[in-house]
């Protein structure tokens, strides 16, 4: 079994106010260590969609790396948040808006001034970013569409990665591999899977059931991290769904 969902504490109940983006939004002084760590985490998770956006906007690989790095440096180190319109809203929209603003107003000046050394606040794996960018779909997607599609895929990769780790941690990776296709909502050939894994069918059914619930919780919790209000989760899900269609 994966981490036993029946024993699970009400993981998502009542914890909304603690999600990362809502914490950043709530930190009015812009100086809260916790809020800063939260923002850093969010940026680390979602940097690649932004990188893909910058590339598709026409910046070369080298520039895009510098630019993304610089953007995050300002965002995290310089409390730049305060100078940006930081009303309630989604982290995704905020990040894209801030980047557009940065590209339009700050980047040329920043490049002229050139950052004087200092540690980069986020270690972005620029090489892998470029390798991944090479696989982005061809021209029919605009920069903004690429950003949003990539955002949705990033969320799903995070969730699937986490689920897999949970199974691996209890020595059930084979079970995960067998059941993972069920996450797209399809029928499962329970008896067949049971025979293959030498389990009884009831056990497989329970495992699929739990996997689906856990997956759903993780997706919604992942989205909750990026919105400022619980009521926005469903709308954001629908938005990302539409974004995948292009």
């Amino acid at each position: 079994m994966p981490p036993n969902t029946t024993d699970r504490k009400p993981a998502d109940a009542g914890r909304f106010e603690l999600t990362r983006w809502s914490m950043v939004v709530a930190a009015t002084d812009g100086d809260s260590t916790q809020a800063r760590a939260a923002l850093q985490h969010l940026c680390t998770t979602y940097w690649y969609p932004l990188y893909a956006f910058v590339r598709r906007e026409g910046h070369g690989a080298h520039d895009a790396q510098d630019l993304t790095q610089e953007f995050f440096a300002r965002l995290i180190e310089k409390h730049w948040l305060e100078s940006v319109d930081r009303e309630k809203g989604k982290f995704r929209s905020f990040l894209l808006g801030a980047m557009k603003h940065f590209l339009a107003n700050e980047w040329d000046r920043a490049r002229r001034l050139k950052r004087g050394g200092g540690e980069a606040p986020l270690s972005l794996d620029a090489q892998s970013g470029e390798a991944r960018y090479a696989l982005e779909p061809a021209d029919r997607w605009t920069a903004e569409q690429i950003f949003e599609r990539r955002w949705a895929l990033t969320l799903l990769e995070q969730v699937l990665g986490r689920l897999r780790r949970e199974f691996v941690a209890v020595g059930k990776e084979k079970l995960f591999n067998a059941l993972e296709p069920a996450l797209t909502g399809g029928k499962v050939a329970y008896a067949e899977v049971a025979a293959r894994l030498n389990l009884n069918e009831g056990a497989v059914r329970v495992a699929v059931h739990r996997l689906r619930l856990r997956y759903r919780d993780l997706v919604r919790a992942g989205i909750a991290e990026t919105v400022s209000d619980e009521t926005e989760i469903e709308a954001e899900l629908q938005h990302l769904f539409a974004a995948l269609a292009g």
């Binding site: 029946t6 895929l153 699937l160």
Partner: protein, 322 residues
């Protein structure tokens, strides 16, 4: 690049960067909207269709499946004929249990035996139980009638009708509690009335057998199964390991309230006499049964029965035994 194969769900071509080779749109769709569909009383399709009649007939050839009587969180129930004895029975197929938990089979046998020992006119009799190929089933007395929920839906009970039912429920509970069995899931769906007006409680102890409280809490988090939770005593949610027979008395209080008013008591609820034309002494009975703290509640089902009968003025006869 390899030719893209379609998603088996939506038939759209799969992008080469689909996470783990799964269709991202179907993945997101599966997380959207209300919690997993086909949930009937809280159970996901994965857990329900094990009770398909064809499947059941194949695995239990000693029965002829006649009709579907109901399905819910505790499984699927069929009216069936036990061919060898030529008798009508209710055949309950339990939802697939976590058979990976090593103690389940032993627990199932132990619990089912104690349920089969219950022998009372107001308790649905358990004839037999077993397991075949991962399918767990219980064979029970067939009650030709309706459950209390179905009666509510047909029409509102009169207070006199409601109050005639309560002592029967109390008798059954008192007997079971003396036998050391707690029902744990008293609700209108589990209270059956046959065509001759006899009251029979079904599914004694199943909640414990299936570790239903833990499951309910999980499902409730996912927005399901609130139906059952409304009848649960507070300690069943907070400290399920401490639950004793007094949890049944709380649930009984909820059922009485609902029988009298048509509503379940939630939050700051009105007294029964404020909502319906009933004797004010019933307010005290309901409030006493609904005490949050088990120690402040009625301690025995027989006390509820006695208090209700003081209101109705019915003389007490010894409880029927078969």
């Amino acid at each position: 690049m390899e030719t893209t194969r379609p998603c088996p769900q939506c038939q759209q071509p799969l992008a080469p960067d689909a996470p783990d080779g799964l269709c991202p749109q179907c993945l997101l769709k599966a997380a959207a909207g209300p919690p997993p569909a086909s949930a009937i009383d809280g159970l996901h399709g994965d857990l329900i269709d094990i009770g398909d009649p064809a499947e059941v007939a194949k695995r239990l050839p000693q029965f002829e499946i006649i009709a579907l009587l109901g399905r819910g969180g505790m499984g699927v129930v069929y009216q069936a004929r036990q061919l060898q004895l030529d008798r009508l029975v209710a055949l309950k197929i339990l939802p697939p249990v976590d058979a990976l938990s090593p103690d389940f089979i032993a627990r199932f046998a132990r619990e089912a035996r104690s349920l089969a020992r219950l022998n009372h006119a107001n308790i649905v009799h358990v004839y037999d139980f077993g397991e075949t190929g991962g399918l767990y089933y219980i064979i029970m007395e067939f009650v030709d009638g309706a459950n209390l929920r179905e009666l509510f839906q047909a029409r509102k009970l009169t207070p006199a009708e409601a109050l005639a039912i309560v002592p029967k429920i109390c008798d059954a509970l008192q007997y079971a509690h003396e036998e050391g069995v707690v029902h744990r899931d008293i609700k209108p769906e589990n209270i059956l009335i046959d065509k001759k007006g006899r009251v029979k409680i079904a599914d004694f102890g199943l909640a414990k057998l299936l570790r239903r409280e833990a499951l309910d809490m999980t499902l409730t988090l996912s927005g399901m199964s609130l139906g059952t939770v409304r009848y649960m005593a507070p300690e069943q949610m907070d400290k399920p390991e401490t639950v004793d027979h007094r949890a049944d008395l709380y649930s009984l209080g909820v059922v009485i309230y609902e029988m009298l008013t048509g509503e379940v008591p939630i939050g700051r609820y009105e007294l029964p006499s404020q909502r319906a034309q009933v004797d004010v002494r019933l307010d005290q009975i309901v409030l006493h049964a609904l005490e949050r703290e088990p120690a402040r509640r009625y301690q025995h089902a027989s006390e509820v029965r006695d208090d209700v009968e003081k209101v109705t003025g019915k003389p007490r006869r010894p409880p029927p035994r078969r």
